[in-house]
């Protein structure tokens, strides 16, 4: 199967993060600082990505501001002509660093907001953070960055979606991404406490659509429905290994940020191979290109060119085989497990918070 040209690289610079959000899509087994790629490694990866066709770069994590070399990496990316987005919690986004990032040519900053209600926002983040986020947003506006707010939606904040959108507008955001929780990593661990009701979602969707009309031309609003409540799965970034590359903090190149949970795949590392070699030849990127790998009901399904069987990571995490139909699909024989999860939200909002495990003693 011949590979396309990729358009997007998500660089997970670190898993370290001051926040402990229970909906985080990072894996439970996170990478510690000493295993992170060096500055030169990342610069080489960005150069290789641009040569391979990548246009969009996400500087993400964890919290990318923790990396002391962020300014140098942003400058390198700008020099290559990449359109870079900093995906930050806002913590550590000080004026001095923001000015250096602006000078380095960083174009777009995306700040996460947990809720419009500060008390609940900090309960979700697991740490005092609202004040720093508001300060960061003001600096982003003042320095003239393109500015997005992103919000992960779940049971505890969905009912305030209107207030959250208004808050983003007051902060001066150019766009807001409202993404319902996708259940990978820590989010799957906390699924019962994060799971909304159908009624909550319907109300939230109506509120988002109303806001889209009100803010049209001033602030772009993107609302992503959760796949658990839809009839068909989402096409994973245009299909596996088609447009999107993630590089994890330790240098593993992944077709999707949730891919490490597919334990039957081995992922090549940018320390050992060029990104081009990995994109063209690695087993992991080849594994689910095209449709030869598909099982029924996908194999004979007319929608296989629309959604590509859905998410391989979700199929593996929930059914134990990455070749299976994504179980959120109503045509999947495993759909019952999704309906059961929707029907059984937890009684409480007790979370297992995201933390990096201490190393095991020998």
């Amino acid at each position: 199967m011949t590979a396309n040209l990729p358009t997007t690289l998500l660089a997970e610079l670190t898993h370290r993060c001051p926040l402990h959000c229970p909906y985080c899509s990072n894996p439970l087994d996170m990478i510690r600082a000493e295993r992170e790629l060096s500055t030169d490694d990342w610069k080489r990866v960005f150069t290789q990505a641009r040569a391979l066709g990548v246009l969009q770069l996400g500087l993400s994590g964890g919290e990318p501001m923790i990396r002391k070399d962020l300014e140098e990496l942003a400058a390198h990316a700008r020099g290559l002509g990449l359109y870079s987005t900093l995906v930050t919690s806002g913590l550590g986004f000080t004026r001095a660093r923001a000015e250096r990032l602006r000078e380095a040519g960083l174009e777009h900053v995306q700040i996460s907001i947990q809720d419009a209600d500060p008390e609940i926002a900090e309960r979700i983040a697991g740490v005092s953070s609202v004040k720093q986020k508001l300060a960061a947003a003001a600096i982003v506006r003042e320095l003239g960055f393109a500015f997005s707010v992103n919000v992960v939606l779940h049971r505890a904040n969905l009912d305030r979606i209107g207030a959250i959108i208004d808050m983003a507008a007051e902060l001066g955001a150019d766009r807001i991404e409202l993404a319902n929780t996708q259940y990978y990593g820590w989010a799957l661990e906390n699924r019962a406490a994060l799971m909304p009701t159908r009624e909550q979602l319907d109300r939230a969707q109506a509120a988002a659509q109303d806001a889209m009309r009100r803010y049209r031309g001033r602030m772009q609003i993107l609302f992503v429905l959760p796949d658990y409540f839809e009839q068909y799965p989402k096409p994973c970034y245009g299909g596996w290994g088609k447009l999107y590359i993630v590089v994890a903090p330790d240098g593993k190149a992944l077709p999707c940020h949730g891919a490490t949970q597919i334990t039957t795949l081995a992922f090549d590392n940018v320390r050992d191979h060029s990104l081009e070699w990995i994109w063209q030849n690695s087993d992991a990127f080849q594994a689910f290109r095209g449709d030869d790998w598909m099982r029924e009901p996908c194999r004979s399904c007319p929608r296989k060119t629309v959604d590509f069987g859905g998410c391989r990571c979700q199929a593996f995490a929930l059914t134990g085989a990455a070749e299976n139909t994504d179980p959120v699909c109503t045509l999947s024989p495993d759909r019952g497990m999704i309906d059961a999860a929707i029907a059984a939200p937890a009684d409480s909002l007790e979370y297992r918070y995201r933390v990096i495990a201490e190393p095991q003693r020998a």
Binding site: L55, Y83, T85, A146, S148, R175
Partner: protein
Amino acid sequence: MLSNDSVPSLWRLARLDFDSVRNRPVLLYPEGAVLLNDTGKAILELVDGHRTLGEIAGILGERYQTDVTADVAEYLSNLAERELIRDG
């Protein structure tokens, strides 16, 4: 649909660039990219937040020696629908 009197401007988050890998002009914006042809590039290069759509069409019409008003209006309206072009 934009009119002849519309004053189109590029969304402040979007940037016109050239992709040397695909050998195509490209419009970049957060989380997205539109690959352009030479006509699209010629139109967008004239979008500056001051010229009206009619003036842009006039310049291009002279360059190509044909009336391109409808094509320019359709092209920019399509991008406006995607919020990549703003009116005014």
